[in-house]
């Protein structure tokens, strides 16, 4: 049975890319939380032409702060995610990367806390922890 677990130990970009890679295999949507209030002009610069939704609230979201900005995971958006180093998401004008597959969050982050939250079975959790991750605490909202 899957539960959401939180890892607060990830420091290296390699670890982040490992988890990001796993999630991107099945994800179809990505969401961010808007940190700054004037994010629209910045979005037009970094992802020109990409259509996004602004969602005020979404029930069941792992972590929301401010507006939710949702993109379909196009190739452009995927490259945007892959180009950015893990540490640089912290305090970025949109942060808290959240990858979704068929409506289910499969990788969520709280950038300012260095939290990565994933739905894992006990076997998956142990496998990741064996690789150096620390998914030690169940995410309880």
């Amino acid at each position: 049975m899957e539960k959401y677990y939180c890892d607060s130990s990830v420091k290296s970009d390699a670890q982040w890319r490992h988890l990001l890679g796993l999630a991107l295999e099945g994800a179809d949507t990505v969401e961010f939380n808007a940190l700054s209030k004037d994010y629209k002009s910045s979005l037009a610069e970094v992802l020109p032409g990409e259509i996004y939704e602004i969602i005020k609230t979404r029930e069941g979201k792992i972590y929301q702060s401010g507006d939710i900005i949702r993109f379909h995971l196009s190739e452009n958006v995927k490259q945007f995610l892959l180009k950015k180093e893990y540490a640089n998401w912290k305090n970025y004008f949109i942060e808290d990367v959240c990858l979704i597959s068929k409506g289910k969050e499969i990788l969520s982050t709280v950038s300012h806390e260095n939290y990565i939250i994933m739905p894992l079975s006990e076997v998956q959790r142990q496998e990741l922890n064996y690789k150096g991750f620390s998914f030690d605490f169940e995410w309880i909202t």
Binding site: S36, Y63, S65, H112, E113, E138, W139, I140, T141
Partner: protein
């Protein structure tokens, strides 16, 4: 009506005081009313407490002003012992001078004397004579603080802060075109280190405001990219420390100062600190 030593009361529009009780006015001048040109002499020596207790009962506060804000004394009949006003939260202040000649006449000692009415007694035991000012036509009259004066003397932190800011900016600006004639908002001439203080104060505020402008509002807080400083107050699940017995995240209200959490509710402290 005569005063105890025979002088006249209400000679002009106020009280005449001809000595006694440790304080004296020579040359028969009045406290309230005009000084005659050239001849006025006002000596304060020893205690004024007797004078206050005897002749000015029932008033909450008096102030005296020499010419336009040159010289003022405040005292509280609630604590009429002149010497003991050192301990008052509102001491016998301000005593300030618009005209620089006092320094020429009395030197540094006079500057100290002029800083506080209490000092007139304590550090100038032989009394202080207004007669020393040549051409001393003017008046010693009751001083009624204006709104600006009250603002300048406020003990309230924010009022004092705002006065220092506005006055500092005013003095600094005047320094460019009024030079030695610069005045405070209260009308008092800028003296001594006032100009330096005003500049430092204004510069500090300018720096503060400049820095504050680098902060931008974020959700439930502020963030400065310049300083890499993020301050946020919110609630969301937090990952506890290992070994505290917790198996899952908890959601205490907390402040984030960058990566530091300040958790308000002590019941969570054992899990996070």
């Amino acid at each position: 009506m005569n005063s105890p030593d025979g002088g006249e009361w209400d000679q002009f529009d106020g009280i005449s005081y001809y000595g006694g009780y440790g304080a004296s006015i020579s040359a028969g001048q009045s406290y309230l009313g005009a000084f005659g040109g050239g001849g006025g002499s006002f000596n304060i020596s020893g205690s004024l407490g007797g004078f206050v207790r005897t002749y000015l009962p029932g008033k909450q506060r008096y102030g005296w002003i020499w010419q336009k804000g040159d010289f003022s004394i405040n005292f509280s009949p609630g604590n009429p012992g002149w010497e003991s006003t050192n301990s008052l939260s509102t001491p016998i202040t301000p005593v300030s001078w618009l005209n620089d000649p006092i320094d020429d006449i009395y030197g540094e000692a006079a500057s100290r004397v002029s800083m506080s009415g209490t000092d007139i007694i304590s550090s100038y035991p032989h009394g202080y004579s207004i007669a020393a000012f040549e051409g001393n036509s003017g008046e010693l009259r009751q001083w009624n603080p204006s709104g600006v004066h009250n603002w300048s003397r406020s003990k309230n932190f924010f009022a004092k802060l705002s006065y220092n800011f506005v006055d500092g900016a005013s003095v600094t600006a005047q320094s460019f075109f009024r030079g030695p004639n610069s005045v405070h908002l209260t009308g008092e001439l800028v003296r001594g280190n006032d100009r330096v203080d005003a500049f430092v104060n204004t510069a500090s505020w300018a720096l503060f405001i400049g820095e504050a402008s680098t902060f931008k509002a974020i959700n439930s807080g502020v963030y400065s990219s310049r300083w890499g400083l993020r301050i946020q107050a919110h609630t969301h699940p937090l990952s506890p420390l290992k070994g505290t017995g917790a198996t899952g995240t908890m959601s205490p209200f907390h402040f984030n100062i960058n990566n530091t959490h300040i958790i308000i509710n002590p019941k969570y402290w054992k899990y996070f600190y």
